[in-house]
Amino acid sequence: MAVLRADVEICQGYANCVMAAPDLYDVDDDGTVVLLRTTVPDTERARVEEAVQGCPVSALSIEDE
């Protein structure tokens, strides 16, 4: 399993993650990222990495469980 992390202090609400993986990420009314899931199976890791690398301020990361 891969564990999703989001640093709400760093997030600036660019919302690239929401466009890349709308089932995993959303933003709240203040524009701060919200994780819709906290883990994903390793088979989905590639698309999570794509969303992580699409964050302009590197607020997202992924860890191995």
């Binding site: 919302a15 929401v18 794509e50």
Partner: protein, 413 residues
Amino acid sequence: MTASLVVVGASLGGVRTAQALRRESYPGRIVLVGAEPHLPYDRPPLSKQYLAGRWTAERVSLLSAADAVDADIELRLGVAAEHLDLDRRQVVLADGERIGYDVVVLATGSCARPSPWAAPSGIHTLRTIDDSTALAADLAVDGPVVVIGAGFIGSEVTATARALGREVTIVDPLEAPLGRALGAQVGSLLADLHRRHGVATCFGTGVQSVVGRSGDLTVLLSDGKRLAAATVVVGIGACPNDAWLASSGLRIDDGVVCDEFCRAVGAQEVFAVGDVARWLHLGYGERCRVEHWTNAVDQAGHVARTIARPDHQRAYRPTEYVWTDQFDWRIQVVGRPARASGHHLVGTLGADSARAAVLYAEAGRFCAATVVNWPKALVGCRRLLADGTSIDDAVRRIEDLAGAPGRPSPRGS
């Protein structure tokens, strides 16, 4: 023998291409060539957080040496590519080294359009981290700053210099900042934003000359006005770094001319991404070149998939997205407002509080949006644009987000 791929340009687009290829399980060798000696870094902070001294060089890193080792990406930094030999399939570097490839991705980005005004010192353009470091040193010294050009870079540098306490004058031959990108009406609101923060503005005025040296410059405007400046920043656009390809035989026309898959026309094994790529956008029905951060990332991912997966041959037709932070406004733009024939304002863009979305229409369709300080509306607009919808539906949906109907502004921007 395993395949070999060379990415030319340690830019955002180049780094993300290499990373995306590994994500797509590309099995071959990947070499990333960069002209600058620095490890790859990110550019948006260079006019904002890094320029202001709030972020370090480490914070703007895109790929550390350890990241490169982990991803099995070979780095060749500090040496520019000088020639692309299509017949031998080799990239020729300035030091004479030839690197063979099966596939090459051109990601050499763009450079700041050179200043037509010269002085021994004190005139800056801004593109690289070294540019930003040098400008930061001059901005640290008290004295008036003149910014020539009110596009993204000029507007952001103005806001940063003002926040550092400098007196700033911004000059542009157009009547409003970012007028080319956002239209005159939104541009005029941005002019007000600058003035509210104590910036002197000279719009609708060109620059005749700049004389003097660092600390004692004079900018002569075309209306005869003279501005004293300790530091001058010239932000008048960018030019694609394609001159090194002139000898390759590739078709170059303000960028590398590519098909809808971002493959160089006439060269199956050559792709281009980011600022240097002029590809056929089927959604617009024309070739275009996009200098935005998100495009470099998206295009890199798309090209990596096209290379790594023979079954993934899809046209690249993104909806553009760019942001700019100026004073207390975060401005996010999706689509191309310049193509619009009319617009609606939802929310308010007042002096005290700005939270709004400007929705642009082209032939009754929702085609673009400019969003200020309203992330939820940004997400809504990006989704609506991806889905394709009428302007009336789009306005209704964004008004629903606001909880109250906004006042439509007059048509015709």
